[in-house]
Symmetry: none
Subunit: 216 residues, 4 copies
DNA sequence: AATGAATGAGGATTCATTCAT
DNA sequence: AATGAATGAATCCTCATTCAT
């Protein structure tokens, strides 16, 4: 197809692709800066500079600093969620019934390790940024719990987990995974991702109590 | 002894007592306001108004807004820590070896419920307030993990818990308790403190796996 | 003559016609938007959108926002001026010597009523838009006074008005007409255009004093 | 009364006096700057500089730039209104029934002459400053018309003016006076205040028509 | 002719902190 | 001790205008 034949529609499409790609650039730049300095300490000018634009231009692509951050949260959450879903799906095809749990733990740790600062910002700090962000973060967290809850149901049906209130279980598991992965970003005690993963699976499946100990 | 005879030293002592008490007043006022509006949205003037002082006076008692918040963090943490220690100590005197764990869970939930907004601000949001607060919060969290670690060691020696890396175990337990208590502040699914407590103890001691299920 | 044979000159002529017509479109669009939102609150983008163009294009037709507004002022003023001239000319052919005055009053009211918001913007607010606009507005006002002055001279020569300083008289009459017509845009007391017109003619010709009252 | 006895109430009173006086200073400074540069071109920093303060301090005394301008409008209007009332009252005690009218005209001219730029800004330009100012200006204008209407009623009862709709008459008279006084600020044709005053009184009382001319 | 991305000057406002009284 | 006036750094956002395509 010769360039000559490029229709107006096509040209517009190209332009919109450009715009989308530039939005991506800005988002990436914002990701770096936010991660490094935190939300409040980051200025639009910082982001613009990191993106190689003048600060006025940011507003061509995003309504406001707040909107930009919201988009970053969504994108990052979607990315992690997909990462998790793929890992769990892969593990489900294996024979080991505990594999999906281990996969989720491992995938979360991986993801957190790959983008420490940002994860910290998005999955912890966003709480402190005002109601708008808090609501958004709760929503995101809820979607992770949803995913976990589905996994819990499956595992219960398979007899891997004993019956119980799926929502609370899912919340506990999600929190455990999130917190322990987050811990690795903060402390540095040489606990390998694999050890941690094994530890968590063991905790969730069998607890930490002495085998022969009397039940509570 | 007539007031007239009060020595300069005494007057200063009284004055310093006054000062300490006034600091307390300010801290209480700040607690309310910070809890309601969050750190950034709270102005010194808000705190002063709540304390019945003019805003300039705050600086006679506290170095800065930041220093004030740090003190608030320390005070709240100390308060919770003591609350926990007492609960655990009381439970240790009971015969049931799992009692201290249940007590810690229960005490945390109680404390969180009593001061929802502030707990949220201090134990979550402080992360987002910049490096200074983050360090302080990590320190506080560390001291809770220390306490838990000691408890874990004892329980291991008593044979309640099986041997294992105490630090990681303590971290996991602390996180679980903190997260689940926090959850109650956010969602509202009627899960009673008691049920939650029982659930957590069961999870920690025996896990959620099917009794007869093959070990991972 | 086949389109093919259209000379370059002709095409340019056509093009210039197009350009003129497009300028008109923009002017009309600007008129609406300025009238609705005022000068400062109106953005070039607003005007472009109303004209169905992209905002960058406005600059192909007009130097600047300011130049556009100036042109709008001129056009509206010319339009009103012509409207008045025609009304007065028509009335002059009638026998009644007071008719031209009544015609001017009536025509002004009509014009104002037909485009309330814009008239307000152009004939009042332009004063507040900076020196450039102020000068232009003064010029426009002056041309109305000129017209009125000529009419006053004629009426004096006809013996309808008594002799007197034509410039001041013209200014007073112009102001009266403009202000009273403007008043109808602001207050809403049901005073008909006709009553107002009669009132003004009576005021100008005979004043409001009691017939038998002693002269000042 | 020795300074020692100054009660807390007194000290506060002094402080409040100070505050009021500082507000006055700022208002005066703002008056100069607004008059010179217009509303939009005037920055808070300009006003602060003129008042010998830093720009942040303006906000100690006034909510916003807008609030400051509103206060200026009110103050200026009140001042003119009082000036007029006194002039008219003085003239009423004279025997001449037309004196109050002449006095109003003269007083308005005086006031306008004394503060050209500001009058222009407040009584004309404020219209262009957005709905909030427009409403305020209409209110102010209305109060002048009210005053004039009362005067018209009196003059009608005294037989100086013939009966007629007082509101419209008042509006016409107010407009005439305001416009003609304003004209002196713009054109410069050497028309003395006195001549203008006489001209307006004559116009209002007897009109400009030829004495013997047939009624319209 | 037309587009729309990019620019950057420009300004109001907030608020922690200082300091004279 | 307490007050509250004064300061000024800091930052978001708007929008007219330019210019490469």
């Amino acid at each position: 197809m010769a360039p000559r034949e490029a229709s107006k529609a096509m040209r517009r499409a190209v332009s919109e692709e450009d715009k989308a790609s530039r939005r991506q650039d800005i988002l990436s730049a914002a990701k770096q800066v936010f991660a490094e300095k935190g939300y409040h300490a980051t200025t639009i000018a910082d982001i613009a500079a990191a993106a190689g634009l003048s600060y006025g231009s940011i507003y061509w692509y995003y309504e406001s600093k707040e909107a930009l951050f919201h988009e970053l949260m969504s994108a990052e959450a979607a990315s992690l969620r997909q990462h998790l879903a793929e890992a769990v799906a892969g593990a489900s095809r294996a024979g080991d019934p505990a594999a999906p749990l281990a996969a989720a733990v491992g995938a979360t740790i991986e993801f957190y390790d790959a983008d420490r600062a940002l994860v910290k910002l998005l999955f912890r700090d966003a709480f402190a940024l005002g109601h708008s962000f808090e609501r958004h973060l709760a929503e995101i967290h809820g979607s992770f719990v949803d995913d976990t809850e589905r996994l819990v149901s499956v595992l219960q049906r398979q007899g891997v987990l004993s019956p119980g209130p799926t929502r609370v279980i899912a919340y506990a598991v999600t929190s455990l995974i999130g917190q322990m992965a987050h811990r690795r970003l903060v402390t540095d005690d040489g606990l390998s991702a694999e050890s941690l993963s094994r530890f968590l699976v063991e905790l969730v499946l069998h607890g930490l109590g002495r085998a022969g100990a009397p039940p509570a």
